[in-house]
Symmetry: C2
Subunit: 281 residues, 2 copies
DNA sequence: CTGCGGGCATACCTGTGCGGTATCGGCGGC
DNA sequence: GCCGCCGATACCGCACAGGTATGCCCGCAG
């Protein structure tokens, strides 16, 4: 199977529509139809059922979508890391990615501590939208990442745990909920007039709902201060809260684990040193 | 990058020789030369240095070899698992692979316990040569594997630990070493007239040395009984020893961890049930 | 019931590029 | 200095990816 075929398949699977997929791929519809049919013939398996409204995945198709995405990311990673290795200043750079606005105190400590190490190389920090860190690690755009369980998919990575923390509900100071000593996830998500924000999906779209769309933390915290929203955050976010906000522990929220993760076959000494430093924090 | 190019590159890298690689690939030498040159141009990186004796990898080439093998295995896995999903009796089979002759008591218990579970599906057990289990898991030939740290490369898999055991030296009964209460790795590997066997590499070849070539355990144990070899094995191997053999603990040998491992994106309920059963043993 | 539009498949043509054969150039060894 | 090994280059033919035009099927509206 060639990566071209796999890319075609994944696009059609995502669009459920040959025409739109062809457009996204920059080719005409008939060659794409033919490529899919040929792939099905070669695999000896139906990947789609043709409906009058488009294409729907079969169970074999779902398998290929799941595994194929991983495989494509691996090929991309191989390509990108090879290019990077060949760059003249190779080895002298490590790309670390983290969620914008999360764990920043820990990150600052880590970067300071690492910079003080003998032989430390330049660390390029790439802040990316929620959930993109694992993707960047998978496709080679990053060498190492700060991830958060249970939100990120750690499967296939090596990692060290940096911190475990519980979650708290942030509400406007003085709001009736702020006097409680503890609350629950169910309660937090049904406070009258204080909807929880909607987090963006990986493709940047937002689920339907009545909460505000979360773009960055300070924006949401401002809304909370204004009495228009509430938000559940890891405990460490407390450090950044300004006046006008109150926090209430959420007793049944899953603990948030902050980890430093890297691709399992990494040979970069920079990554190794960074991880070692992180482990000593 | 297409998988064809990647396969070509990996073959040339393994052979360090375009002619032999072309032969292995079943194509002529010039198209292969051209494909490699084209790949280098597209990546903007030299992958090989041309020596008068053949081709030698650059550091960028080493990166691509390492990452490319993983990527190729991922593509193969996607293909194989898709084919398997499409088979009429899908779901009704889980392929488990393990090293021939290792952990067999544990395996027997596991298979028995699993078979007794409600809704258990057929488990096809594939015994493979040492070190091949991880490869089979990576390229989709197996769904779940029994692996042994530190011998197998677990990177990229999810796993549960099943057992941790120390290692023992097996010598002929009555041999002077057999009266010791403990020994070390260094001592074990330098007993006069009792060489340790040579384990096969992944490609089936054997390293140079004077020990016998290990093909299967009973054969080696017979040699030990005959006073022609010694061998270091995990403690559990004791169960299978017949008379004429003595064991001595090896104090500084690394502990052997037996794990059950599966590909991180597995969705097979059979695998999940098998792992759950294993965890309860 | 019929006409229409959306959606995928088929037919057919064209050009790119992969793979083949023949040959060259460069470097070591005898 | 000649020969042999090895990779690169030159050139050719065909297979196949991709384009345009069109067909077929199905749901839906009138």
């Amino acid at each position: 199977m060639e990566t071209r075929e796999l890319r075609y398949f994944v696009t059609v699977a995502e669009e459920s529509h040959v025409g739109r997929a062809a457009e996204r791929l920059g080719i005409a519809q008939p060659p794409l139809s033919r490529a899919i049919a040929q792939l099905e013939r070669r695999l000896g398996a139906d990947l789609f059922v043709r409906t009058p409204r488009g294409m729907a995945l079969t169970s074999a198709g779902e398998t290929l979508l799941r595994e194929g995405r991983v495989a494509l990311a691996a090929v991309e990673a191989a390509e990108r890391r090879t290019r990077r290795t060949a760059e003249p200043d190779r080895g002298s750079r490590v790309v670390l990615t983290a969620k914008a606005g999360a764990s920043d105190e820990l990150m600052a400590k880590l970067l300071d501590a690492y910079a003080a190490e003998p032989g430390a190389v330049e660390v390029e920090v790439v802040l990316s939208p929620p959930g993109h860190q694992a993707l960047m690690l998978r496709d080679g755009r990053a060498d190492v990442a700060i991830l958060h369980r249970p939100f990120d998919d750690l499967s296939g990575f090596d990692c060290d745990v940096l911190a475990v923390e519980s979650q708290v509900l942030v509400v406007p100071a003085g709001h009736e909920t702020s006097h409680r000593t503890s609350t629950t996830v169910a309660e937090a998500s049904s406070i009258p007039d204080l909807p929880l924000p909607r987090w963006p999906e990986l493709d940047g779209s937002y689920p339907a709902g009545d909460g505000p769309e979360l773009r960055d933390l300070t924006q949401i915290l401002q809304l909370v201060r204004l009495g228009r929203a509430a938000i559940v955050l890891p405990e460490s976010a407390r450090a950044n809260l300004r006046e006008g906000l109150a926090v209430v522990p959420v007793s049944d929220a899953e603990a948030v684990t902050t980890v430093i993760a890297w691709p399992p076959h990494s040979t970069s000494p920079g990554v190794a040193a960074l991880v070692r430093t992180a482990g000593r924090l």
